[in-house]
């Protein structure tokens, strides 16, 4: 098992290198540069700036410069936020989005899994219909609409939670719920569907025939065996949620990292684009290793044999 993890981590290195290389190429292919703006700079001044950031060098040279810095753990300076390094920016923003993201993962797993499992236990009952209705509501509206609805109801009318900003745990509730609704809905549907399938398998019938209590059948046998698709989804989901969401951070004014996935690109802040992409890629790699470990734990037959 330790060997598996080490091997997979070793596999992560070429993946990260590819991500860095392809992203580097892509961002230089996209038209427009970091210092293009409404008030055009005189060419002499543009030349000064390009020289400062080595942008006057061929792209390949820039790439080598970047990879060299990267190997030393230096993600470079931001082109947009002058005087701040990408390391600084990520260090400031990542803890915020991670915190919000973990809340959201928790809510979506507990809420979605519970609703889906409950629905599957009593298909076509009122629990089922109610759960699936909520699950539909969660995936049928854009998050900016959902978030605004939540603000209208819970802060504007009921004064239960703050409408925006980031000053304490109460400020995290509405953004976390907004973030969690879509994955929760999906998890609920996946769980329900997968569990319905499992509930008709022989071993469940056997368990029931043996006279095991229904909750125990559901929780221990059915849930565990129906969880694979949820786990496949959960890995990348966690990576996505803890790196933040542009929309949620914007409408709730949360200083997280999700905004940079959009603004770094619109600003053509090359080092910041690279930085957030690499952080995300690392998380994806790690999350997928965890997912594969969980697979083998859920179902020993899917043993890791091919390495």
């Amino acid at each position: 098992m330790i060997r598996f993890v080490v091997q997979r981590l070793a596999w992560g290195v070429p993946v990260l290198w590819l991500v860095a290389t392809v992203t580097f190429g892509l961002m230089h292919l996209v038209p427009g540069g970091p210092f293009d703006q409404e008030k055009r700079l005189p060419p002499e001044i543009k030349a000064n700036i390009d020289a400062k950031y080595h942008l006057d060098q061929p792209v390949l040279t820039q790439y080598l410069f970047y990879m060299n810095d990267l190997l030393h753990g230096d993600l470079g300076p931001s082109y947009k936020y002058l005087g701040r390094s990408v390391n600084d920016i990520i260090r400031d923003a990542f803890p915020v989005s991670m915190q919000l993201g973990l809340w959201a993962v928790f809510i979506s797993v507990v809420g979605g899994g519970g609703a889906g499992g409950g629905a599957a236990a009593r298909p076509r009952s009122w629990t089922d219909h109610a759960g699936m209705f909520l699950a539909t509501a969660g995936i049928s509206l854009p998050s900016f609409v959902l978030g605004t609805f939540l603000i209208m109801i819970f802060s504007y009318r009921l004064h239960l939670f703050p409408a925006a900003l980031w000053e304490g745990w109460r400020y995290g509730v509405l953004p976390a719920v907004t973030l969690a609704l879509l994955p929760a809905a999906y998890i609920a549907r996946l769980t329900r569907s997968s569990m319905l399938e499992v509930l008709h398998k022989d071993f469940i019938r056997t368990a029931r025939a043996k006279g095991l209590a229904e909750p125990r059948v559901l929780l221990k046998h059915a849930l565990k065996n129906s969880i694979t698709p949820v786990v496949s989804f959960l890995g990348p989901l966690t990576a996505t949620l803890v790196t933040g969401s542009f929309v949620v951070e914007f409408i709730f004014s949360v200083p997280g990292m999700g905004r940079y996935f959009i603004t770094a690109v619109t600003n053509r802040d090359y080092p910041l684009i690279m930085g957030v992409t690499l952080v995300y890629a690392v998380l994806i790699v790690v999350a997928n290793i965890v997912v594969d470990l969980v697979y083998t734990w859920i179902d020993p037959r899917m043993r890791i044999k091919d390495h």
Binding site: V22, T136, V145, F149, L196, E197, H200, T228, P229, F261
Partner: protein, 295 residues
């Protein structure tokens, strides 16, 4: 894919049975009739928009900007005095096309990719999953801007951009399922009697992922429709003066308190359509699941 042809050729009865089941259950399960009917209605309205819409979608009436619902404009007007109902009808074209095509592509390609990868296993699986990690990690927005710069922000550009980033989710899920199923005893039995790989994969394994696949499909459609609205939120949605439900929701959400009709009607139609897809998905799943059918 050669495999699917082989599977059909070898076991036509299985597919015929499914078709018959669908026919039978359309009659027996009212959910299929209602939700399917609604989706067909939306598709029909989208196609027939030029005849159904009371106004052209881009006709501006600067005298009646932001009017609420009334006899002249059933759903009111937008910021340029355009008829909201007409724009919703035309917007259906964009949203349904993007939703259905993107989801179909993602599910088709993702399923084949994930299934083959999971079934072959070993180094192939490892490498192809690392490729999925790569695609997953690339910044979507760069890809989307690049695509829309090259081919424009019409239906095609948005469809391509969204498809390119959405199939990997499906691939991962299907691969997980296949990994699990390929070790089941009946699969091993099939292998033991020397069944060809394509037959094992398409006859013994994939049908068992149907439940998950249908959920994925009914989820990908709304996801694609919503992804298009997020593009609008960022400012990369469909080119004006055309509309989609997502771009209309984006124009309306900030005015929720002041001009609620701007957000109410697009939200409502989004909700109903996506609910219909989900109900249809559930009903189909219940129908097609060979064991669940017995209940």
């Amino acid at each position: 894919m050669a495999g699917s042809g082989a599977a059909e050729g070898q076991d036509p009865r299985a597919y015929k049975r499914i078709i018959m089941t669908v026919q039978r259950l359309i009659q027996s399960d009212p959910r299929i009739t209602i939700s399917g009917g609604f989706i067909l209605l939306v598709c029909f309205s989208a196609l027939a928009a030029p005849w159904l819409a009371p106004y052209p979608f881009d006709l501006q009436d600067t005298q009646s900007i932001l009017k609420g619902p009334g006899p002249q404009h059933w759903m009111g007007t937008d910021r340029l005095g355009r008829d909201l109902f007409s724009r919703l009808l035309y917007g259906a074209r964009m949203s349904m096309a993007v939703g259905i095509f993107t989801a179909a592509f993602a599910v088709l390609f993702g399923t084949i990719y994930g299934a083959v990868s999971g079934y072959i296993g070993g180094k192939t699986d490892n490498i192809s999953m690392r490729f999925v990690d790569l695609v997953y990690s690339l910044p979507d927005l760069l890809l989307i801007i690049l695509i829309t710069v090259t081919i424009g922000r019409g239906v095609l550009g948005i469809f391509l951009a969204l498809s390119l980033v959405s199939w990997v989710t499906v691939a991962r899920i299907v691969r997980g399922e296949v990994l699990r199923l390929r070790e089941f005893s009946y699969v091993e039995a099939a292998r033991a009697i020397g069944a060809p790989h394509s037959r094992i994969l398409f006859v013994h394994i994939l049908p068992n992922t149907l439940g998950v696949l249908i959920v994925t499909l009914t989820f990908r459609i709304p996801a694609a429709i919503l992804a298009e609205s997020t593009l609008s939120f960022i400012g990369l949605g469909i080119t004006p003066p055309f509309a989609s439900w997502g771009s209309m929701a984006n124009e309306g959400w900030s005015a929720m308190k002041f001009y609620p009709h701007l957000i109410l009607f697009p939200s409502l139609i989004l909700f109903l359509t996506i609910a219909a897809f989900n109900v249809l998905g559930d009903a189909l799943r219940d129908t097609l699941d060979p064991e669940h059918r017995m209940r």
